[in-house]
């Protein structure tokens, strides 16, 4: 019953919907929906012209698609958290911790690889539950809570690893992740496509996905419509950490080892991917296929730039700029969908 509601409300007068206006809006909606794909096509065209032999080589394409599977999966952790309205900036630290736990348990303690993976995933669930407790029960803003958690976990990783890079993870995991399989694509890419289908299905077709969207858009409306808001937010945070831990498993399999810092660099690209993804397929909503396309669009750009011999710092420039552009664009898309 806050008074502010009244002052922030501006009664709108209905606009007569002319057919021309409706058509223009539809064209506008269509073009904004697929703008990313146009940009992607342009990027491919440019690099194909600049570096026709290397950029379009089958090995380059398959290795690009496969090597970025970890990043795509990490992006999905953010899709889930952001759909429920929570920022989770601890996902990259969870990924790093997960890969480090597997490396330590498997190489130093000689624990069976399956058990090591289970332990890493369990730690993911635990971190998510802890995030949820601080955010939902105590009421700390999610970005602050997870910023703290991320730093804390990075500290744990340095502590348990002694700052060392470990290698020599059981070949069975490496085989399951990186061995080329279908059309030269590694299994990790297949896993990520499966994860995309699963996430898309959950968010678009299951009541729980729809409820996460409701909660993310308005906790108050959701509460007054009888949704268990706290449980849904907590669940989303647990799912996000779990997906991040799964991405850590893929990462450990991809590299065959673990190092205490490189995983942290995935955080910014993942945010760029999820926000850029929210401008396409279902503009204004964080969505699975949009994020999938966005990550590969970004990766295409980076891959092309590195092939024409531009230095490594370009990655940071590219991802940073992409994040800002993506958030601005998804803001505009959101404004447009609410104005339609």
């Amino acid at each position: 019953m806050a008074t502010k509601g009244f002052w922030s409300r501006r009664p709108r007068s209905p606009r007569p919907a002319t057919s021309v206006g409706a058509r223009n809006r539809r064209i506008q909606a269509f073009s904004s929906k697929y703008a990313l794909f146009a940009a992607w096509a342009c990027t491919i065209l440019i690099f194909a012209l600049l570096e026709p032999h290397t950029f379009l080589a089958r090995e380059n394409i398959t290795s690009t698609l496969s090597s970025q599977a970890v990043l795509v999966l990490l992006t999905y952790a953010l899709v889930v958290a952001l759909t429920a309205g929570e920022y989770d900036v601890s996902v990259a630290a969870v990924l790093t911790l997960s890969s480090m736990i597997i490396a330590i348990l498997n190489t130093e303690d000689h624990i069976n690889i399956a058990l090591s993976i289970l332990a890493a995933l369990a730690i993911g669930l635990l971190v998510g539950a802890a995030n949820g407790f601080v955010i939902v029960v105590i009421g700390v803003d999610s970005i602050i809570a997870t910023l703290g958690m991320g730093s804390l976990l990075s500290g744990v990783v340095l502590w348990i690893s002694g700052g060392n890079t470990l290698s020599g993870i059981s070949n069975s995991l490496v085989t399951l992740v990186v061995v080329p399989h279908v059309f030269g694509l590694s299994l990790s890419f297949i896993y990520v496509v499966a994860a995309t289908i699963l996430l898309w299905y959950v968010l678009s077709y299951l009541p729980v996905g729809r409820r996460l969207l409701y909660v993310g858009r308005s906790r108050e409306v959701s509460r007054l419509t009888g949704l268990r808001v706290g449980r849904l937010r907590w669940g989303a945070l647990i799912a996000a950490s779990f997906i991040a831990a799964a991405a850590g498993v893929l990462y450990a399999g991809t590299t065959g080892g673990a190092d205490p810092t490189s995983g942290l660099a995935f955080l910014l690209p993942a945010f760029a991917g999820v926000f850029l993804g929210a401008t396409t397929i279902q503009p204004g909503r964080f969505n699975a296929w949009g994020s999938f396309a966005a990550v590969y669009f970004l990766v295409t750009g980076i891959n092309g730039l590195s092939l024409i011999g531009i230095q490594v710092f370009v990655q940071d420039l590219f991802y940073g700029a992409a994040l800002i552009v993506a958030v601005s664009a998804s803001m505009l898309a959101r404004r447009r969908t609410s104005a339609l």
Binding site: R12, S13, R223, T225, G284
Partner: protein, 417 residues
Amino acid sequence: MDEIVSAGRRINWRALARYAKNLLAEFGLNIDPKATVSELPPWNRPLIAVVRAIGNMRTIIADAPDQRGALILDEPSARMSQDMVSHLHAVIRQVADLGHAVLLVSHNLDEVLRVTDRITVLRDGRVAGELETAVTPRAQLVELIVGEMRGLSSAPISSTVRSSPAAASAEIQISGLSGASVREFALRLRRGEIVGVTGLVGSGFDDVGALLFGERRATAGMLHLGEHAELLSRMTPVKALALGIALVPPDRLSQGCIPELTVADNVSMPILKSFTTAGAIRQQKIHHQVADWVRQLGVKPADPEMTVSSLSGGNQQKVLLAKWLQLSLRLLIVIEPTQGVDVGARKEIFSLLKKYATQGSAILCCSTDQDQLAELCSAVCIMHQGRLAQTLRGADINRKRITTAVLGVNMEDSEES
């Protein structure tokens, strides 16, 4: 203003406080300038915004004394008590008498007729007419606002709504409800009955609804639904909905609907499960069913893929009602259901609520809108300082009786104290 910001570009806090106090006092507001706005009673807050606007206008004009300003007010009296409203109107006249233009956007006809010189009526985004207030009878204004909707106006109240059969048992019984500003509230409702709860702002009339639904937690109270008894201190929205109780909150855009989602998303929200086959949502089913439903309720345009924010206030309110009227509830609680809604939509909402009640649900209408209560209710509870002061029934249900009861109780009390 010069003395508030000193030569060194520093803010002179003392001068600022003095300025604020004088400005507030000028409009009869005895408010400590150091108090935070959230500490103030809610009905004072809009007045502060108005006074600030006037103050700003003045400082601008002070630089160019021969110029005149314009004050634009958008529904300024919406959450004010009667005496604050008359206060506001005095302030508005004062501003106008100083030679400034005042543009007042309001759906409150009495207010418009009382304070304005000229009225422009907008309907469906177009100017429907311009009137000189002094020579405009109320009926003419209403006609212009309602336009073609007139045929639908005030359907005769069906006898089943007004006089419920004596044989029907009191199905819903509330006793000893306390919490927020409410103390020891009790009420019986029958199926098909619409009961109003009203009072001055701050009397707790709206808290009754919020407490019953568990939107705010009650400290004590029992709810009997037929045989079933429930402690109101343990009520939550989840539990209330399981018992067949729903709440239509007063603020449709921050509490009722999610404005950036579509009508289909919003209307399907409480019954998502019913649209699933083997656990998966069928979007087509939602689309068709919601399209049918909002067409029945007269939402314009009846397009389930429109976002709620792109609809007019009246249609947004109908979407919010659509969300709940599709369920067969035992008790529907509505708080200010026609706030900020045009006259045409208001009449449609009245007939929707009446029709819904005849289908066997009880409705509790918490509102300060006396016309609305007189139109809808078979009984009206008058709240005063959190307590039930009086219940009006039958022939007493009219605008005049309700208004005097709301104010009359107030006078009695001031004699006591």
